[in-house]
Every structure is written in C-alpha cells, then in structure tokens.
C-alpha cells in the first residue's frame, strides 16, 4: 500500500486504467498505442489472476464497469447544475451542503439508487462575474466520478496537475478559455476527501428554458472549470453531436 502513490486514497481510482476508453478529441492521449496495448495486457493478466484466486466473482467486475459506464456519469452533474440554475432554493442548498443532498436524494435527486457517495464529501463551487473556479488534484486524480464519469486523460496527466496550481490562467488559456479582465481564478486542489463540482454561469439567452434543455448546455469540462457552459446558440450543434 505504501508503494502506491495514491496511498489507497480513493476508490474513484479503481478503474482509472483498467477500463478507461476515454479518447478526448480536444486533448489526445500522449501515450502511445504500444503503451496502451501493454497496459491492457497487464490489466487483463492481473484480472485473470485475481479471478483465478477467487478474490472476487466475475460478476462483480461487470457490475463495477456497469456502474461507472451506465449508472453514474456526467448527466447527473449536468442535471444538478441545470436545477441550480432554475431553482434558487436548490442552488442555495447545493452550495451549502451538496453532500447531504446527494445522500438524501440520490444522484438523480428523485430518491433513486446510489445515495452512497464513492467519496466522503461533495462540494459545489459557483462561478460568478469576476470569479472562475477550476478543479485539480495534484496528489493523484481525485474527481467527482459519480457525477462526471471517468476522468478525461488530461486530468490525470502530470502536466495538468503540476501546472494548474502554478499558472492556472495560462493553462485555461491553452484550453481555449479566455476570461474577462479582472476575473479571479480560484483553483481547488482536491487534497482531502472532498470532491468538487464547478457550477458554471448560466448562458445568456436561456430565459424560460426547462431543466432538461438547460442540462444539455452543461458540458463536462464546464463542471471541471476548464470551459464555460455551452452557449445557447450552439445547442442544436451540440445535440447533433451527442
């Protein structure tokens, strides 16, 4: 355990490598195909050995994969944000104690399954005129996986983790995010058991939109803080891609 740099930090990480099929078009993986093949082979060998040793039943592997690919994911985060945009009371509760809301109501907020957080605490941090929040984990790759799905590859990269705490404005600029003059960037380093979700600003021109439509504007990167919510006039395009 002590040789693990994560120190058993968090089961968010359990499937970082084994089932990460994440190919982010904007930020291509910097490892090679050969490295990926070797890693996949190593994971398969470990999985086979563990199954043979009876460490866990095969169904459990499928169940965990299913949880992280089907039951959890960014639609939950998007819905939280869209609800916060439309319901001031909910927004206030979410900013005050997001942990309790999820534990009481589940990720879908409708009393469904998955009230168990795969982390101890959830904190929602709100962007506002003059303030932009962005999330990083310098120690490993802590991330609100249940609400955003598996981490994008760049989030786990040494470069993002090292540079975001030193020169966040420059890094955000490289993501294509140009913030207005005078905006303070607040970087959140996920050192403890809290996972952070950024509540982006509601795009202009969305007055009267319902929660479902608004949620389509809430892209994953905007909830990490490396992008803004999708502009209203880009929605048809975003919908076509989705």
């Amino acid at each position: 355990m002590t040789s693990d740099p994560h120190g058993g930090h968090d089961h968010d990480h359990a499937h970082d490598h084994a089932h990460d099929q994440d190919h982010d078009e904007d930020h291509p993986p910097h490892d090679t195909d050969a490295a990926r093949v070797a890693l996949t082979a190593r994971v398969a060998a470990i999985e086979t050995a563990l199954l043979r040793a009876g460490a866990f039943p095969p169904e459990q592997v499928d169940d965990v994969i299913d949880t992280f690919t089907e039951r959890l994911g960014p639609r939950h985060g998007s819905r939280l944000v869209a609800l916060a945009w439309t319901d001031p009371d909910f927004r206030a509760q979410l900013l005050d104690d997001a942990t309790s809301i999820i534990r009481e109501r589940g990720y879908d907020l409708e009393g469904g399954d998955h009230r168990e957080l795969p982390f101890l605490e959830l904190r929602v941090v709100e962007n506002a005129p003059g303030l932009h929040n962005v999330i990083v984990c310098t120690l490993c790759s802590c991330y609100p996986l249940a609400l955003l799905g598996p981490q994008p590859r760049w989030y786990k990269s040494a470069e993002y983790r090292a540079r975001m705490v030193v020169e966040p404005r420059k890094v955000l600029g490289e993501f294509g995010l140009k913030l207005p003059e005078g905006t303070t960037v607040r970087v959140w380093d996920s050192t403890a058991e809290t996972r952070y979700l950024v509540l982006p600003e509601r795009p202009a021109g969305t007055e009267g939109w319902d929660v479902e439509r608004l949620a389509r504007l809430v892209n994953r990167d905007s909830m990490i803080g490396v992008a803004l919510a999708t502009p209203a006039d880009a929605l048809s395009d975003a919908g076509a891609r989705a």
Partner: protein
C-alpha cells in the same frame, strides 16, 4: 446537521501549514508546507489519512478546513496574477499564524 464544535479555527483565521517530511503518505502537498493561508471554510471531520495509510489502521477523525492561499505565498515573485488557491487540510497540518499582524 454539521457538527463543527471540535474545530479550533474559525473562518478568516490566519494559519500556517506545518513543515514536515514524512516517509509515508500525507495529504499536505510539498508545495504548501510552511505557507501562510487563511481559513476559508470549516469542513466535516475526516479520518487522518497519514495514520490510515502509514499505520494500516483507520486514523482518528479530526477537523478539516478549506484553507486559501495567495499565489505569491506559494510561488513567490513568479506567481501568476489574478489567481488564488484553496485546498482542504486536516487540523494537525495547521498552526495559528501569530506573525500575521506584523507581516501583513
């Protein structure tokens, strides 16, 4: 709903992180050791991971704080303007910054 009675520091308090160099796991990043910050928020108590990982038993639950740092406190003259940093730290990583009044 949230019991913060065990917390020694209050929001706005000036604190300094300890300097340490443990052989095993800690959640006080090296870049934030021995730095001055301010209590940004009080968080629920959490088990101290240093104990959990280093000693193989569940660490005691102690208060956790959001602590805000000025970028120049972390990076000196090379700091980027217009940014600040918050991390959550266990109370055992923090001491009161008694020099705060004199230095700021």
């Amino acid at each position: 709903m949230r019991d913060m009675s065990a917390h020694c520091f209050a929001v706005g308090d000036a604190v300094r992180t300890i300097v340490s160099n443990p052989i095993g796991h800690t959640r006080l990043p090296r870049y934030a050791r021995g730095r001055r910050g301010r209590i940004e928020s009080l968080r629920r108590e959490q088990a101290l991971p240093d104990v959990t990982v280093q000693e193989g038993r569940r660490g005691e639950r102690i208060p956790v704080y959001g602590v805000a740092f000025a970028m120049e406190e972390l990076w000196g003259a090379d700091a980027e303007d217009g940014a600040e940093l918050v991390m959550e730290l266990w109370e055992s990583y923090l001491v009161a910054d008694v020099e705060d009044g004199a230095l700021r």
